[in-house]
Amino acid sequence: MNRLRVIGSMILTAGIVTAVATACRKEETASGVPTPLTLVTPAGFPAPNDLFGNNPLTKQGVELGRVLFYDGRLSRDGQVSCGSCHQPFAAFSTFEHAFSHGIGNQFTTRNAPGLFNLAWHRELHWDGGINHLEVQPLAPITAANEMGEDLSNILKKLNADSRYRALFRDAFGDPEATSQRMLKALSQFMGIIVSADSKYDRMLAGKVNFTQAEAAGYAVFKAKCAGCHQEPLFTDLSYRNSGLPLDPLLKDVGRMRITGKTADSLKFKVPSLRNVALTAPYGHDGRFYTLAAVIDHYRSGPKPGPTVDVALRAGLSISSNESADLLQFLTTLTDTTFTKDPRFKEPG
């Protein structure tokens, strides 16, 4: 009798749960259920952040995100898309530009980083001011010198377009474009961009061998650089002052702008060095045009200052031979599988 009662209430509870679930889903239309995807963690990578716990990754969600990423209508003048500053062949950075073009002949005030392995980043932007990938697009969309647009305007444009209504319906079961759905779709698209198939990765997997110079460069890297540019992401995601003097025009104090702490003055997020040969120029304001110039900066020693990282204060002793090897090694971090991946390309 007792057991029966327990079973009875279990069935009832299950019934209630499904009933409640269906009650909330009533706006879903009859279209197909989105196809689930999983983010595959490359061998040797740590577990990614829980980016998709509240935003289930689906084929249709990623597809909508991709269309949005390459659509100029996310900007006020219709000309500037995310993809115009984040170009696939440049590992999603801006090809050969220190600063990128925004609307109306304006420029950004920082160098556009490459976009890959973002599901492993706790915080975004050079100063770490953005704490979640879903809300990152709000920054370029609303910035007057980037896309200069207003969210409600974008939603008006999207909701007036039957193609988008179909894409939103396929991804979220409802044709209405909302800010949350748009942001979640962009997050799905950016979140699955993974770069882990460089020569370096294939060497680790035992598929190819490094040349002598590459192997020697790797040894120098592990000794001198890996403390901050930590494998396998090639960044420890910390904020450091690598000794670049303050640009008097830009007056960019980096991390301090977010935390308000003087101890964070001139600290910037350690950039990943994956695909670094594709993302010239270098540094948060693109002040170095070549990798050799960056290495020279480390060798000659940074400009002294209270927040300069202790590891760099005295300069790094790197011989000319070592420097040449290091450059060879850095080119092994280029991953053309991901830059040519059709899933990440501009649609159509």
Binding site: S9, N131, E134, V135
Partner: protein
Amino acid sequence: MYTRWLNILLMAALLWLSACGKDTSIEDPGYRLRIRVVPMIDGFPLQRGVDQSNSWGEAFRTDVFRIYLGGFALLDEGTDPVSDHPDTYHLLDVFDSASMSINIHGNGTPFRRLRLQIGIDSIRNVSGAQTGSLDPLLGMFWTWQTGYIHAKFEGSSPASTRPDKRFTYHIGGFRQGQDSKRILMLDLPVNKAWSLERSGLTEITLHMDIGAWFRSEHDLPISAQAQVMQPGLLAVQYADNYARMFSLESIERR
């Protein structure tokens, strides 16, 4: 045996009713409570685009005043909630009268105090794209540095040191040392416990006196700074002051 089934059924009904609504608490929607917020400036009604003055003698005109309230709870004589609406937010806009009345519900248990929160919990500041009253579309969200603007106050004043004579206060911040969320407990102005009535409406009137924004816990005349648009020590001071804007004027049956 029967009571158990009845309980389960009742739970089911309540779950059904509450699961899709905005509030997460399981309460009886029959017990209605309206919280009406009346904007004032040093005892006078706040008006749009009209010269008014603060207690520093500074004339000013208000163009925008928006503030997030939320986390309403009805408390017994201690601090235990008899009815709780955690993690629910309402955006008040003093020039949109509909937004100035907040309709919630509770239950029949007597209470003596009202708890409310100014600003948004940190968890909502770090969990990605939100919707409803937290939609970034509402313009209460910083884009270059993730986080909600808890209160926005904009206007003009001859006391402003800025060339265009405008003042702009965007106050928020959730990180350690920058927290500008404030929790208030307001006693009912009656000397006894109050109970909501089933199928009845109780109305609480709160005064929100913007005079305290400029002068209460801290002295913050417009002439001292006319622009605060990021979290930090100053924002925390404005938060201490906006916490002093609210007083519970009356509670009545409607």
